[in-house]
């Protein structure tokens, strides 16, 4: 308690975060050992587009069943995670922020699953 100074927690956190965003500025992206001549954001954008096309193909070509529905859900989750990690910088940011998404999502899903169960049980 002796090192009490005038700095606040935020200043310390800001200091920690300062040196993390270097990857954003590069014009090159290394993906699975291959160097791609585009910023990482563009590469992510390409992945998002490809996943969307994949989803559209599945949705249009195959009937809805357990497998295709599962694939669609997984694809959408991957897309969302990509946006959150790269575009919202969660990759480099404080892991605490992830809790701000995960905890309410968990709570929301408890509610959602419960609501799903209600009509099935007869009400």
């Amino acid at each position: 308690m002796t090192d009490m100074s005038t700095t606040t927690q935020a200043e310390e956190l800001a200091q920690e975060a300062h040196d993390s965003h270097s990857a954003d500025h590069s014009d090159k992206t290394v993906l699975f050992g291959t160097t791609i001549n585009a910023p990482v954001y563009t590469v992510v954008f390409g992945a998002l587009g490809a996943l969307t096309l994949f989803e559209l193909l599945i949705a249009e070509l195959f009937p809805r069943n357990f497998l295709t529905t599962g694939l669609l859900v997984i694809a959408s989750i991957i897309k969302a995670v990509l946006v959150v990690l790269f575009y919202m910088h969660l990759k480099d940011d404080n892991p605490l922020y992830a809790l701000a998404l995960v905890v309410p999502l968990g709570i929301g899903l408890i509610a959602a699953f419960f609501l799903l169960a209600v009509p099935v049980t007869g009400y």
């Binding site: 935020a10 956190l13 200091q15 946006v83 575009y87 940011d93 701000a100």
Partner: protein
Amino acid sequence: MAAIEHQVEHEHGHASPAVRLENLKFATWLYLASEVVIFTVLIATYVVFSLNNREVVHEVHEKSGIVLVALNTFILLSSSWAMVMGLRQLKLGNRQGLITWIGRTALLGTVFVALQYVEYRTLSDAGVVLFYTGGELSEFGMRFYAPTAFHGAHVIVGVLWALFIIWNARRGNYSAENYAGVEVFGLYWHFVDVVWIFLFTFIYLI
């Protein structure tokens, strides 16, 4: 006394850019936490109905088609990409690049809203309406319009916010060190994009 007043203004008003960024980012994530909850409830309301009324969902999908909404999905994804490219330009010190890219974001967002309006018109002409008219289509309608329109409202707010960012940037308010306002808008805009990713899959595809 005047010195104290000045100090008060300072203490209550401004912190250093780094601290401000840290505070604003955390606050935005917390705000998004409550948005997560509200969208989860709305989507769940839809999903419950959708799982129990497969044939109605199928009928609506037949009527609406997938082309328009797929196009819209790409538009929103592109706007998100434009957003993050704008932030990148700003961090590289290029304010004009920021204005250009955010301008694209705002434009794509506007197109998205316009196309959603077209889609709504198509659907309501086909009998899918918000209020109850006595058929299964309107039972579908209320559950469909609530999440998508709520999302649409977020896009509209986002477009206005983007215009505000452009206005601010033109006045020279942002720099490579002072980018908190843009970063926070980015978080919001990408979140709206993430919501759409799930809406697209759960409402239009499944």
